[in-house]
């Protein structure tokens, strides 16, 4: 995600800090495997990915990763319960067809799940919709309405409600704007939200 450049290394740092050494990590929607290969390099994890794009799968395999070429549901359903120490769903939940099913599967195959999503409640998005009357185009939502890969537009509040309804335990959360973390008024100010979950 080139438009997430500012937040990208902060996302990585946040994930790295919460990744135990030598564990088994699954990245759902791993893209070209950059995140996984860095985790493998810095934490010595056994890295596995699921990815839909053929070109990305080939690049991820070239980085020395084990990859399933296919969609998230199909990729996840054949892993045994608790097969991974950590399952990462980074900037993917907003694109999934059935996020609830995928997240339940993630929590089944992983002891912990780390979810990163672009937060739609950011003041810039609110401003564009409320006062300009336009579909928001922001650093977190860089696409015009007609060519966005996103299916869902969720806010920090939406997400917390969702976790609550599902009975998932939030172990940790983090919010990013302009590449740095903050705590105050996350629903209004967060460009990206990060959650570490457990069932």
């Amino acid at each position: 995600m080139p438009d997430q450049l500012e937040n990208r290394s902060a996302i990585y740092e946040w994930i790295l800090k919460r990744t135990a050494s030598r564990g088994r990590v699954l990245d759902v929607g791993c893209g070209d495997g950059e995140l996984l290969s860095r985790l493998a390099e810095h934490r010595g994890v056994e890295a596995t990915g699921i990815e839909l794009s053929q070109e990305c799968v080939i690049r991820a395999v070239q980085r020395g990763l084990s990859v399933h070429h296919g969609n998230a549901e199909e990729g996840l359903c054949n892993y045994p319960d608790g097969a991974f120490d950590l399952v990462i769903l980074s900037l993917a939940v907003q694109e999934l067809e059935h996020p609830r099913n995928v997240l339940r599967e993630c929590l089944r195959v992983g002891r912990r799940v780390l979810v990163v999503f672009p937060a739609f409640g950011h003041w810039r998005a609110r401003w564009q919709l409320a006062f300009l009357g336009r579909s928001p185009v922001t650093p977190s939502f860089p696409h015009a309405w007609h060519d966005s890969p996103n299916r869902h537009y969720l806010t920090v509040k939406d997400w917390e409600q969702f976790c609550n309804d599902e009975g998932w335990k939030v172990l940790e959360k983090g919010f990013l704007t302009g590449g740095s973390t903050f705590r105050l008024l996350p629903n209004l100010r967060a460009e990206v939200a990060l959650y570490l979950l457990e069932t």
Partner: protein, 407 residues
Amino acid sequence: MQRRGFFGVRRLCKSKHMNNSDDIRADGLGLVQTSKIRCFDEPLVLESGVSFGPIDVAYETYGTLSPQRDNVILVCHALSGGAHAAGWLPGAEKPGWWDVFIGPGKALDTDRYYVVSSNVLGSCYGTTGPSSIDPATGKPYGTSFPVVTVADMVQVQARLLELLGIDFLLAVIGGSMGGMQALQWAVQYPDKVRSVIGIATTSHHSAQQIAFNEVARQAIMADPAWNSGNYYETEGPRLGLAVARMIGHITYLSDVGMAQKFGRRLRNREKFGYDFSLDFEVESYLRHQGESFVGRFDANSLLYLTKALDYCDLTNGGTRSLEEAFKGCPARFLLIAFSSDWLYPAYQVKAVAHAVRRNHGDATYCEIRSNYGHDAFLLEYQEQTPIVVSFLERVSRAGRRVHARSA
């Protein structure tokens, strides 16, 4: 050593293809040779319970065996292949069947790996099969040759490796029938295989795959010249074998691939002939494939090998799940499918990956977009090369760690 021989070949061949193939030969293995070895002197007990012997095996090797003997890759061929997988035999006009994939700097890099390729039991390219001479009678076995299975083929390969002083495979790789052998290896000799690369393959044939094989067999057996398999003193079932191969080639292509390659184009004519002569390009292609196969393959071998494929079933007739079949198998798997392959559809390849994962195993699965149908496993080598190279690199690295730990 082999590349020096290359110049010898150039003098031997006066083919008009010479100039085109010069470049290919220069970056490949050059001249190679097929060896033959007696693998079983005493009868071997086959999966069917029948004892059979002696068994000779034709094989080739490329590259250099490392002092630790830990760089061996076994290549398994498909239905009509043989031991000659790469390089050039003296006087040949074409290199081995997987020359684009095996050689210095290629996917199976012979500067790093020691590649072993052998002809399967029941085939007709040097390993004992129905066209071999039965020492008891002095005549070809014909249908007195026992029905063999993929497990038998693998048992013979294991014996060959033993005779070559190899007790461990870095990888076993194959497409189609070769992939079925590779999967069988993982189940039959789990301790001897560090990784398995299965391409356009399956753990067991579906009804559709058996059906096409049966039509091919019936085409041969319906030819009066087949003569219950005793035809070695005659021309044999040329028409039956050609039709069997034509059926095969239809299943190796795809609808869209055929449309692109032939469409409705006519062959050497502007209008329909309004007779049963050759009208369409696709007819010409199939006839050519059928006819050229007759000159290079034994009809009985086709019967035996297709039967072996139909019998192959890692689930033992459904008495165990695929997951149970791979239980306790530490190998890492790379499984490759092709989008337009309807003979060995992607779901079959994917099912193997899923079974491995359900056992907490390591399986990489990739489905490559291609219009070439089942033939893609040979034609799409440029797409497969980076995947296979990186996978082998990872497997070798993991192996070195194991060595370091145990040392």
